[in-house]
C-alpha cells in the first residue's frame, strides 16, 4: 500500500494578472520505505509537489493522501496534527531555531507531541549520537557548521519516528563531501527505520543516492525511474 498518493493534482499560482501552472495533472504513488528524488530544473514544480505532499498547501484540483488521510477533507489544525505525527521536514537552509541548542531544537518536536521528559531526553540523546553530534548537544546553531546544522535538522525530522521525511534541497548549501555524508546518514536511517524519504533536488549526488527518481518538467511528470528495476 502507498504511503503517499498524489492523484491528478494541479496547482496554479496567481501573481497579479499573471497565472503560472506549477503542477499540471500530476499523479504519483510512493510506497513505504522508499528513498525517492523529485528531480527537475528550477520551476519544474518539485518544491510545489513537496509542499502538497507535506500538507503545507492544497492543490487546486486532484487529491493528496498521506498514510490514508486525504488532505482535502482536513482542516488546517488536522493537517498540522498530521504533519506533527507522520511527517518530518528538512529544509535547504537548515532552519533551526537560533535561540535553542541542538538538543533543544530536536526536543522541540517531542514537546509538541507531549512526550514525557525522561523519554524525550533519551530519544534526543540517541538521535543526536546517531547523527554524529555527541559533543554538540548544547551548541547553538550559530556555533555549528552548515553540515552539523543540517544533521541537527535531520535529527529533528526523524526523532518523532515519522512515516515520511520531506527534504527540500537538503544538500544545496553543503559542500559535496559533507552532502555525501549527510545522504549516507539519511539512507542508513531509511534502511534501519523504514522511513520514507522524498527529496526535491536538482543535485546529481542526491539522484545517485535515490533508488527512484521522478523527473518533473514544466509541472508534469516527465519520467519515473526505479533503479532496482
Amino acid at each position: 500500500m502507498s504511503i503517499v498518493e498524489v492523484e491528478e493534482v494541479s496547482k496554479i499560482y496567481h501573481q497579479g494578472k499573471m497565472t503560472f501552472k506549477a503542477l499540471d495533472d500530476v499523479s504519483l504513488a510512493v510506497d513505504k520505505g522508499e528513498f525517492i528524488a523529485l528531480a527537475g530544473p528550477s520551476g519544474s514544480g518539485k518544491t510545489t509537489l513537496l509542499n502538497l505532499v507535506g500538507g503545507l498547501d492544497l492543490p487546486d484540483s486532484g487529491k493528496v493522501v498521506l498514510d490514508g488521510n486525504d488532505y482535502s477533507k482536513m482542516g488546517d489544525g488536522q493537517r498540522a496534527d498530521l504533519r506533527l505525527e507522520r511527517l518530518g521536514f528538512v529544509f535547504q537552509s537548515y532552519n533551526l531555531i537560533p535561540v535553542l541548542t541542538a538538543a533543544e531544537n530536536v526536543e522541540y518536536i517531542l514537546r509538541l507531541q507531549n512526550v514525557e521528559k525522561a523519554e524525550r531526553i533519551e530519544r534526543v540523546q540517541s538521535i543526536l549520537d546517531e547523527v554524529g553530534l555527541q559533543e554538540k548537544h548544547n551548541s547553538r546553531p550559530d556555533e555549528l557548521s552548515g553540515g552539523q546544522q543540517q544533521r541537527v535538522a535531520v535529527a529533528r525530522a526523524i526523532v518523532s519516528n515519522p512515516a515520511v521525511v520531506l527534504a527540500d534541497e537538503p544538500t544545496a548549501n553543503l559542500d559535496s563531501k559533507t552532502g555525501e555524508k549527510l545522504l549516507e546518514m539519511m539512507r542508513v536511517m531509511n534502511e534501519k527505520r523504514q522511513v520514507t524519504f522524498i527529496f526535491a533536488t536538482h543535485d546529481k549526488m542526491v539522484m545517485d543516492f535515490a533508488r527512484r527518481i521522478v523527473s518533473l518538467h514544466d509541472g508534469k511528470v516527465a519520467g519515473d525511474q526505479k533503479k532496482d528495476e
Binding site: D57, D81, L84, P98
Partner: protein, 406 residues
C-alpha cells in the same frame, strides 16, 4: 525548554531593541507611579488645606445660606445637633461658627472685614488657623473682646498686636452691632484673600455683639478621612434635627477647588495617555519587527506541526515577560523616587505664590498609595497586551508555504 523559556530567549535575540522597549516601559511606569502619587498628594494637600482652614469636610447650614449668606439665616439650636453629629462614625470633630460682615477701624484706617465667631478650644482641633499665628497668640477659652486678624488685614488697617480695633456691623435682629476688640494675634495662611478679609473672635463675644440669640450660621464637621465625608453627610441628613437644614460637602462649598483638581487631573491624564501611546508604539514596533524577522521561522514551526495559536501564545509571553520586567522595575524605581520626595518634598520655586492661593505649602509631598502604585502600571500592562496582540494575531492568518518563503 518550554514555551516560557523559548519566549524569554526570543526576547534576547535583539538585546538592544528589547532593552529599549523595556526601558520605555520602566520609564513610563516609574513616571506614572511618581506623577500619580505627586498629583494625589497635591490634591489631598489642597483639599486638606482648604478643609482645615475654612470649610471643614462638611457643614450644616440654614437653607440658602451658602448661596446668599444673611445674618438671619441661622441654625436655631445648634447644640442639639452637635452631640449627635459628634457621635457619628467617621466624625473627627464638630464645632459651631457664625460670621458677620463689619466695618473694622484702626487708629488711622477702616476697612470691611468678615468677623467670624469661633470656639477657640475646638478650633485648635478642627482648624489649621491656630497653627498659622505669626505674631502674638491664638484665641483662648475665656477671652473677652479679643481678636485675631489676618496679616494683610492688619497691614491694611495699620494695626498690630495689642492695638484696639473697632467693629461696627448689623446684628441678627437688625440692630447695630458695635464693639472694640484688642488684637491678640496675627495669622498668615498664605491665602491672600483669607488673610486680607478675616478676623476671628470668641463665639460667646460674637453671639452677644451680633445678637445671635443662640443661633449659629455653620456647624463645621471634620471627618477622620476624606472618604468619610459622603457617609457622614448621608447620616446627618437622616437626622430629624437636621430637617430644614442643608448638609454640604467640601466640594459643594468650594466648587472652584474641585474644578481646579478636575482640570489638573484632565491635563495629567492627557499627558499620561501620550506617554502610554509612546510605549504602545514601542511595543508595536518591536513585535512587528520580530514577526517580520521571524516569518520564515514561523513557517518552519508551522510546517513541523506547531499550531498558529501556540506561536501567538509565545509572542504574547514575550510581551508579557518584557512588560513584567519593565513594570516591576518601573514600580520599584517609581516607588523609591516617590518615597524619597515624600520625605524631602519638592520645592515649588516661583509657583509657590500661586500654590499659596490654594493654601498649599511651598513644598509639595507626593503621597504613595496602593492606587498610585498600581493604576499606571495596570493601564500600561493592558495597553501593551493589546498592542502585542495586534501583530501576534497576524500569525494566525499566516500560511505555512508563504511564511517559509519569508
Amino acid at each position: 525548554m518550554g514555551d516560557y523559556l523559548l519566549a524569554w530567549r526570543n526576547i534576547w535575540r535583539n538585546p538592544r531593541r528589547s532593552v529599549l522597549t523595556i526601558l520605555a516601559i520602566v520609564f513610563a511606569s516609574g513616571l506614572l507611579v511618581f506623577m500619580l502619587s505627586f498629583q494625589f498628594g497635591a490634591y489631598e494637600d489642597m483639599i486638606d488645606s482648604s478643609v482645615r482652614l475654612s470649610t471643614g469636610h462638611l457643614q450644616i447650614q440654614a437653607k440658602g445660606y451658602q448661596n446668599r449668606p444673611e445674618m438671619h439665616k441661622v441654625i436655631k439650636n445648634p447644640d442639639r445637633l452637635l452631640g449627635k453629629v459628634a457621635a457619628l462614625d467617621g466624625v473627627d470633630a464638630v464645632t459651631v461658627r457664625s460670621e458677620a460682615f463689619a466695618l473694622a477701624a484702626g487708629a488711622r484706617r477702616s476697612r470691611g472685614i468678615m468677623v467670624s465667631g469661633v470656639r477657640p478650644d475646638v478650633e485648635r482641633r478642627i482648624s489649621s488657623l491656630p497653627g498659622q499665628i505669626r505674631k502674638g497668640r491664638y484665641l483662648r477659652d475665656g477671652d473677652v473682646n479679643v481678636a485675631v486678624i489676618g496679616a494683610l488685614g492688619a497691614e491694611r488697617l495699620q494695626i498690630d498686636i495689642g492695638d484696639e480695633c473697632t467693629l461696627i456691623g448689623q446684628g441678627r435682629d437688625g440692630s447695630v452691632a458695635a464693639t472694640v476688640v484688642r488684637i491678640a494675634g496675627i495669622f498668615k495662611t498664605g491665602i491672600d484673600e483669607f488673610d486680607r478679609t478675616t478676623m476671628q473672635i470668641p463665639l460667646s463675644d460674637f453671639n452677644s455683639i451680633f445678637s445671635m440669640e443662640g443661633g449659629a450660621h455653620r456647624i463645621v464637621i471634620t471627618t477622620k478621612a476624606l472618604a468619610d465625608d459622603r457617609p457622614v453627610a448621608a447620616a446627618v441628613r437622616m437626622m430629624g434635627e437636621a430637617s430644614g437644614l442643608t448638609v454640604l460637602t467640601w466640594d459643594e462649598m468650594t466648587p472652584g477647588l474641585r474644578q481646579s483638581i478636575e482640570l489638573d487631573l484632565i491635563g495629567g491624564i492627557i499627558m499620561y495617555v501620550i506617554l502610554v501611546i509612546v510605549v504602545a508604539f514601542s511595543i508595536l514596533n518591536t513585535f512587528f519587527m520580530a514577526i517580520f524577522e521571524r516569518t520564515r521561522e514561523f513557517g518552519v514551526l508551522m510546517a513541523i506541526g506547531t499550531k498558529p495559536f501556540r506561536l501567538v501564545k509565545i509572542m504574547l509571553l514575550e510581551s508579557l515577560a518584557m512588560t513584567c520586567v519593565g513594570l516591576l522595575t518601573g514600580m520599584i524605581l517609581g516607588t523609591a523616587v516617590t518615597l524619597l520626595f515624600s520625605y524631602y518634598g519638592i520645592g515649588m520655586g516661583e509657583s509657590s505664590e500661586l500654590m499659596a492661593q490654594y493654601g498649599i505649602a511651598d513644598r509639595l509631598y507626593p503621597r504613595l498609595s496602593p492606587l498610585s502604585i498600581i493604576i499606571g502600571p495596570a493601564i500600561i500592562s493592558v495597553v501593551t497586551f493589546i498592542t502585542a496582540l495586534i501583530p501576534a494575531l497576524k500569525i494566525v492568518h499566516m500560511r505555512p508555504v508563504a511564511a517559509l518563503r519569508g
